[in-house]
């Protein structure tokens, strides 16, 4: 991921960072995620409008770690977030942006692998009423055939 601008896929994706962990909820897919390690720091850079290159560069500078490892881990995370539909390419034409300051506190001098935990146990809510299971015979909703 060389450096295309990325943006959070809002409003389908909602998120909050708390205690250096980011909770991400994709309302469109029913999947939710928690992002730990240095992931919250990466997320803050994404929120601030940084492109892939800028994020990698910022993470290299703020951590005392083998640069190749930072590159690999951060780019893998960004790729995964894009694959999950959490991030999308930002096609808007904007003037070059200065290196954003991350909104969150850095996770310390050591680099901790940003880990994205993926949860799918609530995808049923996308298909059925909260309190019961779908009737696979009748299907739903009972609308006119289209």
């Amino acid at each position: 991921m060389p450096g295309p601008a990325l943006r959070i896929n809002e409003p389908s994706v909602v998120h909050e960072t708390i205690d250096d962990e980011t909770i991400i909820i994709h309302l469109g897919t029913g999947t939710y995620y928690s992002l730990d390690g240095c992931g919250a720091e990466v997320w803050a850079l994404i929120e601030a409008g940084a492109g892939g290159d800028q994020i990698v560069s910022a993470m290299r500078q703020s951590h005392d770690c083998e640069p190749a490892l930072v590159d690999r881990e951060v780019l893998e995370l960004l790729d995964r977030l894009v694959a999950e539909g959490v991030l999308v390419a930002d096609d808007a034409t904007r003037p070059p942006t200065p290196m954003p300051e991350p909104a969150g506190a850095p996770c310390g001098g050591s680099f901790q692998t940003p880990t994205l935990h993926r949860y799918t146990d609530m995808q049923e809510f996308m298909l059925v009423d909260p309190l019961h299971e779908v009737d696979h015979q009748a299907g739903w909703p009972h609308a006119q055939a289209g």
């Binding site: 409003p11 909602v14 998120h15 909050e16 708390i18 205690d19 250096d20 962990e21 909770i23 909820i25 309302l27 469109g28 029913g30 939710y32 928690s34 949860y119 146990d121 609530m122 809510f125 996308m126 298909l127 059925v128 009423d129 909260p130 309190l131 019961h132 299971e133 779908v134 009737d135 009748a138 739903w140 909703p141 009972h142 609308a143 006119q144 055939a145 289209g146």
Partner: protein, 372 residues
């Protein structure tokens, strides 16, 4: 995929309103009011059938006094209207997550088509008017009777600093309450029932209206609790009071009418002092502090995925909740008394050290008085 035509939902709303009016003329209109603090819903039922099916679960909230902010809802069953019910103008593919019909951008009328029950909730945002139609009140599934009108209440009661939240709440008037957070099966009902049995006040085992400004307050919505077979075995006294269907539907739970079985046990509202994240594990009950992020993970997704109109605003509110109060992980063991003791311990730890402050908080005195 062709979009739902502009004007289709407003036209359907108008037709539905005529159906409701015709049903009310034929069956007779029955009016009831629900009150949740300064918010209220005026229910205009066409005939008695839906009154009997929907209102028992909402009995604690019935109040003849109009609220300061009130929404009106017309409710009827298709079979009661002399006007044949119109087919819905949307197709299966127009129905999105949580039953919300995909309307043109900026549409004033919204629709929620619920699965299974066939219930349709129509919302005219400008007129603050609701319509709720079901095919046949007698065939309303158990879950709709136990926790009725969820989309209507979600829309009518939520707003700035007020959200419907998928969580239980228990406590008392002196120390306040705890939100009990987690997805289905995590132990919310077990914790709420253990607390109820131990004499604590009950706000809910699954849905509350949460005010987050200026004070955190959980308001009761339903006076019911839903018991599965495990709950019936674990709480034999409450099981005797629960209504078990003689011919249960698939996955049907027994419904305990808490307000009727334990008069005075249902608290209209409690100030929230803590968040409890339960997990059913068996053995001995254990209580630990938990990171706020884990509490948010328990609260936010299961709430956000169930609310049709929210677009995630509730997640920001819930983040403020876990930042403001201590959060606990409760490993739910086998003995209800131990579970209740753990809840009691949470309330002891989390209650304000000083008596309630004198800061001018709207509704606070009312909450405290009703919570006792």
């Amino acid at each position: 995929m062709p979009k739902l035509a502009e004007g289709a939902l407003p036209a359907f709303f108008q037709q539905a309103r005529e159906e409701h009016a015709a049903a009310a003329r034929r069956e007779g209109e029955r009016e009831r009011r629900l009150r949740f603090g300064d918010r209220g819903v005026r229910l205009r039922f066409a005939g008695p059938a839906l009154v009997d099916r929907l209102l028992p679960a909402l009995a604690p909230r019935i109040d003849a006094r109009p609220a300061a902010h009130e929404v009106t809802a017309g409710l009827w069953e298709e079979r009661a209207s002399p006007i044949p019910s119109r087919d819905v103008p949307w197709r299966d593919t127009d129905v999105g997550p949580r039953g919300l019909v995909r309307a043109p951008a900026g549409a004033n009328v919204m629709a929620v088509h619920e699965t299974g029950s066939g219930a349709i909730t129509l919302i005219d945002r400008r007129a603050r008017s609701l319509l709720y139609r079901v095919p046949d009140a007698a065939r309303l599934p158990w879950w709709e009777r136990a926790a009725p009108l969820r989309p209507a209440l979600f829309w009518a009661l939520t707003g700035e600093g007020r959200h419907l939240v998928h969580a239980g709440a228990v406590g008392d008037g002196e120390r306040g309450g705890a939100l009990v957070a987690g997805a289905g099966g995590s132990g919310k009902t077990t914790v709420a029932l253990a607390a109820l049995e131990a004499g604590l006040r009950y706000v809910s085992d699954d849905y509350v209206l949460l005010h987050s400004q200026p004070e955190l307050v959980a308001w009761n919505l339903y006076g019911t609790a839903k018991l599965d077979r495990g709950h019936l075995a674990r709480f034999p006294t409450l099981a005797e009071e629960a209504r078990v269907s003689p011919a249960p539907e698939a996955d049907e739970k027994a419904v305990l009418d808490v307000a009727a079985s334990r008069p005075g046990a249902v608290a209209e509202a409690l100030p929230i002092r803590a968040v409890i994240v339960p997990r059913i594990e068996g053995g001995r009950t254990r209580l630990d502090r938990v990171h706020r992020s884990k509490a948010l993970l328990a609260l936010a997704p299961s709430t956000a995925f169930q609310i049709p109109f929210d677009d995630g605003a509730v997640v920001r509110s819930l983040a403020t909740v876990v930042r403001r109060v201590p959060c606990f992980a409760l490993s739910v063991g086998d003995r209800p008394a131990e579970i209740a003791q753990a809840v009691d311990r949470v309330l002891e730890i989390s209650a304000p050290a000083a008596p309630a402050s004198t800061e001018p908080v709207p509704g606070r005195a009312e909450v405290a008085a009703r919570g006792r």
